[in-house]
Amino acid sequence: MLGFVPYPSLHAHLNLHHTCADYCPACLFVGFATQLHRQPSHLQTISYPNYSGLAQCLLNTGTHHLERSIVAGLNIKVQEAFSEPGCDKNLAKDEKERKKGCTKQLVPGAAAGGCAFDGAKIALQPITDVAHIVHGPISCEGNGWDNRGSKSSGPMIYRTGFTTDISENDIVYGGEKRLYRAIREVIEKYDPPAVFVYQTCITALIGDEIEAVCKAAKEKFGKPVIPVNVPGFVGSKNLGNKLAGEALLDYVIGTEEPETTTPYDINIIGEYNLAGEMWQIKPLLDHLGIRVLACISGDARYHEVASSHRAKAAMMVCSRAMINVARKMEERYGIPYFEGSFYGISDTSDSLRQLAKLLVQRGAPEDLLARTEILIRREEARAWERLNGYRKRFEGKRVLLFTGGVKSWSVVSALQEVGLEIIGTSVKKSTEEDKERVRQLVSDEAHMLDDLRPAEMYKMLKEARADIMLSGGRSQFVALKARMPWLDINQERHHAYAGYEGMVTLVQEIDKALYNPIWAQVRKPAPWESEIHPLSLEGRN
């Protein structure tokens, strides 16, 4: 523990000299901390917290001071992200509801999930040729660097973990100088085309102004230095995705020009090239002559993102992640977009069609439409040829599906196409529209599960009500400990499941999991035990 209790006490002290109105709730971080840095003498003078003084201030102060502080600036961004008009969830809400935003109040002791910083990093780290510096204590980067499946076709610097790893001293005197020096060190040693700087909770709390540091560094070193002011505590991963998008809109997109443009230039937004999924799609686009000007942000280069405003059309891949980027690019640069998915056969075809249609509307030669149809027919046939063999093997097999970012209906329909029965699917992260589509797809007995506690999940599996679970890594061991097949379909997955090729891979993987010979063995009780697994007798009777 530090030897002093800086914030409330400092506040109480300042109270004697200033009116509270100088420090609005949002600038508590900044107001105090800036004072703290600049007048370290305050540190010695006070040593007792004064909660009531602080609470009073929180009540007294008005919002008209909001714009004074960076965190306040951030609050406005957060509000903006919440009131995203492109988000159908939001459109369904009334004005007041919308203001409250999408974040549910987290329940202490019963919460799971990453922070907004995590989300911002997920969204931007796939830009492969820039240095991503995390300004904060070792926790934020040290515990989790280089652990994502975003693949690069070239530069590897995005996988380098850069962090200021702040110390106690930085907490007391401020971490801005360390951050500035860190940026210099990185530019001198690695010379990336740009540097992204991520804010985290503590450095936000002590009031480090990363915008100011980035600005100074940019001027000094003559390189884009982009502040990503998304400290973890502002909200969920999803919010972090959106705010990362805002950073791109504010500091990157439209700052450079492409060498050439073609009538076939598109952006793909919200695709992170996990396990190399972009590379399952790109050959299709290449075949049609469609050029991905920028993928935001999977396997992207800084220059591509910076010049992405010259695209003719855009596709929004994961509906909730970066809708703000797609919408604002339409607003600012007139780039029309649609929401699509590359999961499942029919969705992949739909997406290709829509892309072609948008491009033709924007002036691309009309033959693109026909060429697209030919490609779709050929590729669908090629995929089905390989998939049909599985129908028999999948007959009567029941799937429990827990997806995160991937739109569940899209995968649901794809799995049903090959004859699997979906007995439950989570709709926790789905939009209303998604839910409606799932409703139409799954049978009556199917459950749409908002949230399933691990214990219930385990029970469902143990009682063999499902034959396989598809989910993210966290619930992996719930399935495995119930001795049931499991397949990773989230971020850390090792296989790519996009497009026609991806669907074939997915089905192959499900088949491998279902029919692995270990299941019979691991379910058999030890000879000295009597407990019998519900499935261990299968085949014997």
Partner: protein, 456 residues
């Protein structure tokens, strides 16, 4: 003897270090029916969780007080209270461990006082053991968090016993030991007719067994009763220098004297350990270990050809660095680079010139021209760039299976470790080609040399 220096860089590149709060959390994960909580924002918990899940390939019970910017400023007591109440309701743990994070430490909270109040307000929590530890992540490293936590558990739960429990010894393993290591040490102790109470016991909770029932808390490990009974042991054995503070705390509370073994990897180290056990129990060293010892000696003989003179770069937390570095030096390797995460009295004793508290970039720079890189899975990038084989050691190990079943203590563990390392050297032996032994350029081109030959 090494000089210990600290990296002066403003930017840590490719961190070797992991944070203190999750080190503390891992210690709590070695207690039975426990639910650890990180007192901070939910993101910190998520990162820790993912890290452990990927390393252990097990479900990890870990919760958060879910702080946000407002609760941080206003104080986190309400969140702590809600977390405790919710967890008690849902998971019915036998013990709860609470590690603070940088965020809550920056503000500074009186958790001790808060807990008193919380217990008073929630009678159901009155008798539930709740251990909190101050583990700010802007200070120290993973192994510090672990050892502080064990110390705090002892402070909270262990009292002086009126009667000693015959044959019981306390075993305090450091964070660098795996489930397999702990099992091996417990077995060695048992071979002398002694029973070990292990605190914390990852070999009970994260050894990958399949429980009968689903449990929201840890599925094995040291029970609260066992911890309470530690006061009745006849001696304490601490493995790893980091555990001295916990052993000392235990001695101060109970009068049980302790012995620290800074490592159990290596011939000498195990000789001393077994003699110590023999002294404690009054029994001779069992035959089994006499045989294992001679197997180890043989392994050393067989392997030294391949280890001698090899240059090794190691990046690990101090206790692991000491164990591996010492063994490799004993096998004739040259420790060309040693990078670690935090201070320890062992660092200056390392058999190399310099030990740097730094990151994997520092290690990579120093590893040029080495024959082997020894560090955790994050060394994979450096290994690839340098073209030097990587021997994975320490946490996290996310790109290999069975990390927690790797054995490197005891005669047997040392023997296996020597074979594994020797095999890496064997596999990467440089074999000669026609161009391997060129004469120096000067001899061919330098006219003065030729001139010398002609002139008398």
């Amino acid at each position: 003897m090494a000089t210990v220096s600290v990296s002066k860089k403003a930017c840590s590149v490719n961190p070797l270090k992991m944070s203190q709060p999750i080190g503390g959390t891992l210690a709590f994960l070695g207690l039975a029916n426990c639910m650890p909580i990180l007192h901070g924002t939910q993101g910190c918990t998520a990162f820790g969780l993912v890290l452990f899940v990927r390393h252990f390939r097990e479900a990890i019970p870990l919760q958060t007080t879910a702080m946000n910017e407002v609760t941080t400023i206003m104080g986190g007591m309400d969140n702590v209270e809600q977390a405790l109440v919710n967890i008690y309701k849902r998971a019915k743990p036998e013990i709860i461990g609470l590690c603070t994070t940088g965020l809550t430490e920056t503000r500074g909270e009186d958790i001790h006082g808060d807990l008193k109040l919380i217990r008073k307000r929630n009678p159901e929590l009155a008798n539930l053991p709740i251990v909190f530890v101050n583990t700010p992540d802007f200070k120290d490293a993973f192994q510090d968090g672990w050892s502080k936590t064990v110390t705090r558990i002892i402070e909270e739960l262990v009292t002086k016993a009126t009667e000693t429990i015959p044959g019981q010894v306390n075993l305090l393993p450091g964070s660098h030991l795996t489930a397999a290591d702990i099992e091996e040490i417990v077995e060695m102790i048992a071979a002398f007719g002694l029973t070990a109470v292990v605190l914390p016991d990852l070999s009970g909770s994260l050894d990958g067994h399949i429980p009968e029932q689903f449990s929201p808390t840890t599925i094995g490990g040291t029970t609260v009763d066992e911890i309470r009974g530690m006061g009745g042991s006849l001696a304490t054995i601490a493995i790893g220098q980091q555990m001295e503070r916990a052993a000392l705390e235990l001695e101060m509370r109970t009068g049980i004297s302790y012995t620290v073994f800074d490592r159990l990897t290596g011939l000498d180290a195990n000789d001393r350990f077994l003699m110590h056990l023999s002294g404690l129990s009054g029994k001779p060293v069992p035959l089994k270990y006499r045989r294992q010892r001679s197997q180890l000696v043989d392994a050393m003989l067989d392997s030294h050809f391949f280890c001698g003179g090899k240059k090794v770069a190691i990046g690990a937390e101090p206790d692991l660095l000491w164990a591996l570095g010492s063994l490799l030096a004993e096998m004739g390797c040259e420790i060309s680079a040693a990078v670690t995460t935090t201070q320890s009295p062992l660092l200056e004793k390392m058999p190399c010139d310099e030990v740097l508290i730094g990151d994997l970039e520092d290690l990579e720079l120093r590893a040029k021209g080495c024959d082997l890189l020894v560090t955790h899975s994050h060394g994979r990038q450096a290994s690839e760039r340098l073209g030097i084989p990587l021997f994975r050691a320490g946490l996290p190990c996310f790109d290999r299976l069975g990390a927690n079943h790797k054995l490197s203590v005891g005669y047997r563990g040392t023997r296996d470790l020597i074979f594994q390392v020797g095999n890496v050297f064997l596999e990467h032996t440089h074999e000669g080609t026609p161009d391997s032994w060129p004469l120096p350029d000067i001899a061919m081109n330098n006219s003065s040399v030729r001139g010398e030959l002609v002139e008398p």
